[in-house]
């Protein structure tokens, strides 16, 4: 899958990791989450660090105000704080929207369920309960017995065919920070494509999923 990626030495990776600030990481986590069709792994460490930074900055602002630091400087710090808070909020909110949308799918797939944070799992459980209750009350309970499941069209269905699932075949627009070499789309048969640094590509999400998860490629 990652032929050619071996060329970049571990030292390079380490260096690029160290030079990437949390602000950058949060931005790409937000972008990826917005552009990916399915819910991605919750970045607990990043969210926690961002929250700490926000809190620290808020305390600093209080100090500034008490010490009579020039209002212009204070307002600039406030703008920076607002920008970070926007990113964090939008990141979390985008995830909640996805959870609401694919709730039953996420709930029954352990691998997806584990991508959620504790709080998100709590939200998901309540949301699924409420939605099920609502569907049953407003329609399902009035249908004949074999049509009462909120997951299946009828008792005769072989699997849960009324559960909306994320569309992994969807194409995404992505960009790599460095040259990734020849990349084989997953179904074989096709010519591998060269992924150059900083160029945009439209590729099926399914086939670049591992690269998104490992942070080698960014969705834009």
């Amino acid at each position: 899958m990652d032929s050619g990626a071996g060329e970049s030495s571990a030292a390079d990776d380490y260096e690029s990791l160290m030079s990437t600030t949390d602000a950058e990481l949060l931005k790409s986590a937000w972008r990826n989450e917005k552009a990916a069709p399915e819910i991605l792994k919750y970045d607990a460490g990043l969210v926690q660090r961002s929250r700490q930074q926000i809190q620290l900055m808020e305390e600093m602002m209080d100090e500034f105000n008490q010490n009579g630091v020039d209002p212009l400087t204070v307002s600039l710090y406030q703008m920076d704080l607002d920008r970070t808070m926007f990113l964090l909020r939008s990141y979390l909110r985008t995830r909640l929207q996805k959870i609401e949308k694919y709730i039953f799918h996420i709930q029954k797939t352990a691998e997806q369920w584990n991508r959620l944070s504790k709080q998100e799992q709590k939200f998901a459980t309540r949301c699924a309960g409420d939605l099920k209750h609502h569907l049953e009350q407003s329609a399902l309970s009035k249908l004949p017995d074999q049509y009462q499941s909120h997951l299946r069209q009828s008792a005769a269905s072989e699997d849960d065919d009324m559960v909306p699932e994320p569309h992994l075949d969807a194409y995404v627009v992505c960009r790599s920070k460095k040259y990734l070499g020849a990349f084989q789309l997953d179904d074989g048969g096709e010519e591998p494509i060269d992924i150059e640094a900083d160029d945009l590509y439209a590729l099926p999400y399914k086939s670049i999923k591992p690269l998104v998860e490992s942070g080698q490629i960014d969705l834009v």
């Binding site: 972008r31 600039l76 710090y77 920008r83 926007f86 969807a170 194409y171 995404v172 160029d199």
Partner: protein, 211 residues
Amino acid sequence: MAGTSDPHGSAFSAAELEFLAEDEMIEIVPNLRMDPLNFISGDFGPFRPQIAAQAPLWLAVALKKRGKCTIRAPEWMSVDKLSQVLEAERDSEKFQPLPFHYVEISRLLFDHARDDIPDIYMVRSLIEDIKDVRFHKIGKGLEIISKERTYALRLKNLSAMEANIVRPFVTRALETFYKLGSSDMIQETDHAPNRQPQATNRGPRRQLKDR
């Protein structure tokens, strides 16, 4: 929520793209003295009067609005450079390299730093022309997708805003080709050639596959 029928349409709004563009660095000439700013998004400054410094666009615009600096238009935003780009853009099939956020950056500067951009009217109309030529090319490029079997698309030098605009169409078109080209679909069409309505629809699509 007009776009809900297409769960994977434009991923970003214009405002969100502008937000991202505001993190691009630009040169400013401050007219005040300010200690280094240690932001969450990075460390900037110190600023000294009349000494050029780098700042993210949002900071530059904030200072500019308060009359605390002038913004130096980036090099690519000169009449010379833009004329070259426009000419090359017209002569070539390819997209010329421009900053990823050129549309948003120029827009922000036109809105907030009019007096800092030399030949603003000329610059503005050049950028408009470049945008038009590029959009025309995008349209032509999309025709190619429909002629050849395409599984992956390289959008070399396409900017953020351009990519975001073509995204809904391009991603769905590619996805449809991908589906039609997959082996399940071919088997299905072979097994069921007699279903009248679909058969007529599928005729041309199968040709695509054969190429």
